[in-house]
Amino acid sequence: MATVLKIRDLAVTYPDGTQALRGVDLDLAEGECLALAGESGSGKSTLLRVLLSLLPKGSRVTGSAVVDDDGTSLEAVGADRATLRRLRGGLLGYVGQDPHAAADPLWSVGRHLREAWRARRMRPAKGAAEERAEAVGITQARARLRQYPHQWSGGMLQRAHIAGAGVHGPLVTLADEPTSALDAGLAATTLAVLRADARALLLVCHDLRHVAAVADRVAVLYAGRVVETGVDVPARPRHPYTKALVAAAPRPGHGLPEELPGTSPDLRRELTGCAFAPRCGLALESCHREDPVLDDGVACPVVPR
């Protein structure tokens, strides 16, 4: 399968000096679902925002993120207006976190959906919005689209956002914790709808269990770096951080989950060595000096290959 998104050595520093991403390499293939996991502050959302150029003014971005559409390569880092117009809502679809917050409360859901065309200076064909809504499982679309967001449930409204994100058949759909505001049962079906509607999906998700069902591959971020990537990460974590992350998830009948010791590093300071070393029970002396590189899917010298 062709690679549609190629991220190389991507680094982001926010205006306050926080290094949200520190040299990230990632590939996304057509038809694939890649999940980005990690705690809040690990840089997951930053990665999506770089692609859409939604970072706050004054942020510094280096490296490259190329969207490859059938031979035409578009560089998202430092994109000019013309490129941005092709990326936002065109080649890149976006689904946000909280469906109610992401919908303008003054607009009907239908107007919101049709805005996906109008924002790109197009006019939706008659019935096109209803058709999109039905495609993501919204029944009686004609009547329901006339209602306002506060009259909709979170799960259904998130489907409307998925419909809006997919209007122009984006090459890559970016979803930023799309189920964190929904209850568990809805989360699974909403993710399934999202998965089915997207051509390639970059899914930010803090809950590794949800990820397992839909993702083809998982990349775990810690302090702005990919520490582990692989097909079977949620079931068989290898990196000490991922192991701790999996152990920190509550499981019924297993007592209280083990909490991660220590706190996340201060990303406004220059880090030396592995960012996880201070919290890691297996850390070697060298871990505090040398930053491990991704080797065989894990960035850790301790893990046996």
Partner: protein
């Protein structure tokens, strides 16, 4: 009761209360209205029989509740009695002055809106940036300046000094430009503060981010998401300042000798012309209530969540 009816009912209740208070002024006045009217109509020394006849004609020999009921029904029809100063019907005096004040007010509102937009918009692109800090400084200065001070400075330097405009204003549209300025500055600065806050909230909200991610341009997001969201708090504050506008008009109209209601109010207070004062105060209350009613109705029309709740 549906919301619009409830709003109307509460406005009428406020109006009735204000009406009772305004009528009560008459009871506190040491002046005998009947004698006062005869004096105003050119009788230098009214005979006691004449005064009694007029008192009966005016219904002043009836009980207070009866007097109030008569006054109220007349007021509802627009009849506020006779001016003690000129002997003319109060309604006619007001009607002659009203157009000039409406002109002044409309021009001031237009200016204030322009000031609010001019001070609120430039800082949005980069909150805390130079444009934002500068605009906020102007907002602070603008809301701190008293109307009369701006008015005096304008008169002294622009009208007298530079010879622009007229010292004695005539109440026409073009004459309204200068007097409207001091009225508009303070209000516009106040509005700018509210507008800026509303716009910043709306443009920083996740739904604006969604719009950006979908490729909507800045202007589109500002016009379709930002302004409608900022409109509700803006309209509320704008309606509240309608009261202040009337008070400011009294100052500005006196300063610029503008032939409007505000100057009539000052003249009438000076002359102890109670019926005219009563009519103007009630007119102010009506204007204030109408502005608030309009603001609430518009807010409800903009926000679907307000339409059905209760």
């Amino acid at each position: 009761m549906p919301a619009p009816l409830r709003r109307l009912a509460s406005a009428l209740a406020v109006l009735a209360t204000a009406g009772a208070l305004v009528w009560g002024l008459m009871l506190l006045s040491p002046v005998d209205p009947a004698r006062q009217i005869l004096l105003a109509q050119g009788d230098p020394a009214p005979a006691p029989a004449e005064v009694d006849a007029t008192r009966h004609e005016l219904g002043l020999d009836r009980s207070y509740p009866e007097q109030y009921a008569r006054w109220l029904t007349a007021a509802v029809r627009g009849d506020f009695g006779t001016s003690w100063r000129t002997g003319d019907p109060v309604a006619a005096e007001l009607a002659g002055r009203l157009p000039a004040t409406i002109r002044l007010t409309l021009v001031a509102l237009l200016f204030a809106t322009a000031v609010a937009l001019a001070l609120a918009l430039p800082g949005l692109e980069r909150p805390g940036g130079p444009a934002d800090v500068f605009a906020r400084g102007l907002v602070f200065g603008g809301s701190a300046l008293p109307v009369f001070a701006v008015g005096v400075v304008l008169l002294e330097f622009v009208v007298v000094g530079a010879g622009i405009g007229r010292v004695v204003a005539d109440g026409t549209w073009s004459g309204a430009l200068l007097p409207a300025l001091p009225l508009a500055l303070g209000i516009g600065a106040e509005w700018a503060r509210v507008l800026r806050g509303g716009l910043r909230d709306a443009l920083g909200a996740p739904h604006s981010e969604t719009a950006r991610a979908r490729g909507a341009g800045r202007l589109r997001i500002l016009a379709l998401h930002g302004l409608p969201h900022a409109a509700a708090p803006f309209l509320t504050v704008a309606a509240m300042s309608a009261g202040g506008l009337l008070a400011g008009a009294a100052v500005v109209e006196t300063l610029f000798t503008w032939p409007g209601i505000g100057r009539l109010l000052i003249t009438s207070i000076d002359a102890g012309d109670l019926p005219v004062v009563q009519a103007i105060v009630l007119l102010g209350v009506v204007a204030f209530l109408a502005a608030n009613l309009l603001a609430e109705t518009l807010t409800a029309a903009i926000d679907p969540r307000r339409r059905e709740k209760r």
